[in-house]
Amino acid sequence: MSRDTLLWRVAPPILRSARRPQRVVERNAIVYRRTPMVLISGFFEPLFYLLSIRIGFGALVGDVDFAGRSIDYAEFVAPALMASSAMNGAVYDSTMNIFFKLRYSKTYDAMLASPLGAADVALGEIAWAMLRGFVYSISFLVCLAALGMAGSWWILASLPACLLIGLAFASVGMALTTYMRSWADFDWVPAITLPLFLFSATFYPLSSYGGLAWIVQLSPLYHGVALVRGASLGVASWGMFVHVGVLLALATVGLSVAARRVETLLLK
């Protein structure tokens, strides 16, 4: 990153000390080169979800009203599932895996003995989680298209939206992971992601929540869902900037905390 871009100047100081986080990504890519099946099978998961929505739920629910028009239920839910899968992929990659490297395999200790620093570790791992999530998002998109569920070319705009969701959740996931003490603590992860998955206007429009809609809007995934849904249905609004802002803010806080914590845990 060039050191005089705006993004650079607004980044928290600890992140500015990063030098080459891409080397951390490179290391992870070399590990995964050996187990490509994990990525390939990731393709089937969205396929299963989309099919079940289409043949099962779609038949039961029929059409829903969204943004002033009536749309097919599968068309309504699919983008939300895509956003959720971006979240789940990022969380999965940034919790257990990172905990293992942090506490057991000492991978980061070796990195910190080189010119890399805590910010490189945090940025690199989060970038990697984001990239892996991106591969899943692409396969999601391919499945959507293959099932004839991609409405227009607008749907391509959902890819950057998913990237942003991945960034936000990977950052927060890694930050929280640095506070975990044992594997048992990870049982709480689904206790957070499940309600996010269920109550982020994923399966029914925000309007169905009535007076509780404001709670839904507190969910970071809601903002992700709104972005992806807007993109895939080709509905743009000024509110999109708010959604992007919320996710970027989350990512910045998560990244800074993660880098700071890696530093306190390993450089003592």
Partner: protein, 260 residues
């Protein structure tokens, strides 16, 4: 009277539970509750308005349809979660099975102990669902009582086969694929979320042979009192047919791996 060997194995595992039970109980209640609220009542509000949908579900609300099936899916998900990495880990990483094998315990005793342990874990998780069902008026029924062991039987089928898979592996590389390619599709297409009748013709028979579908049907039938005796026995028989060979395979694999 001496304690049966398999119970002694269980006791060892229970020490683990002692450390995590608070979290475990809280989550086992919280997750089905959220699911019931989010899917059952939430999606239900979209489903229940449509005449054609009510007909497909047999004139019941969507929550009533979904709730009992969650007993079986929860048992399956717990079995999958607790029998892949923990089992391979018992052989490879923490060596707890080796330690057991070094005592007088035989391989079948270790297997039985492991299954008992899983029954406890599934019992806690399924119990959480049962409490949620008992709270909601539409699903409150005495049928929940037989539905819980039915769900456990279904869960044991998965325990047996997944344990067998894990016990036969050297590395954990295939485990996330078991989750993604076996458990996820069963979860989605096994009849818990919508009737399998809506599946395409080719897939319906596949659903009929899967243990999850029989577990879901048993649980739903018990809770909603829609199950005849013959039907119930039929479902139990199919689950038993799935369970027994899986159990035998486990015994063999444990014997091979522990005493090689």
């Amino acid at each position: 009277m001496t304690t049966p060997a398999s119970v002694r194995v269980l006791e060892m595992q229970m020490l683990l539970l002692k450390r995590i039970w608070k979290t475990n109980l809280t989550l086992s209640f919280l997750q089905p509750l959220l699911f019931f609220l989010g899917m059952g009542l939430g999606v239900g509000s979209l489903v229940d308005d449509r005449a054609s949908s009510s007909e497909a579900l047999g004139d019941i609300s969507y929550a009533t349809f979904l709730g009992p099936g969650l007993l079986a899916t929860t048992a399956m998900l717990t079995a999958a979660g607790e029998s892949l990495w923990p089992v391979l880990g018992g052989f490879k990483w923490d060596g707890s099975y080796e330690a057991m094998a070094a005592t007088r315990l035989t391989a079948p005793q270790v297997v039985r102990g492991q299954f008992l342990w899983l029954a406890v874990r599934m019992g806690i998780a399924v119990g959480g669902v049962a409490v949620v069902l008992a709270v909601h008026p539409d699903t409150r029924s005495w049928g929940i009582l037989p539905a819980v062991p039915a769900a456990l039987l279904c869960g044991l089928v998965f325990t047996a086969w997944i344990t067998a898979w894990a016990a036969s592996r050297e590395y954990d590389t295939s485990f996330s694929n078991v989750q993604r390619l076996v458990i996820t599709p069963l979860f989605l297409f096994g009849g818990a979320f919508y009737p399998v009748d809506s599946l395409p013709d080719g897939l319906r028979p596949v659903a009929w042979v899967t243990p999850l579908w029989h577990g879901v049907e048993l649980c739903r039938g018990f809770v909603l009192h829609t199950l005849g005796m013959t039907e119930a026995l039929g479902h139990v028989a199919v689950l038993a047919i799935w369970l027994i060979p899986g159990w035998i395979v486990c015994d063999r694999l444990f014997a091979k791996r522990l005493y090689r």
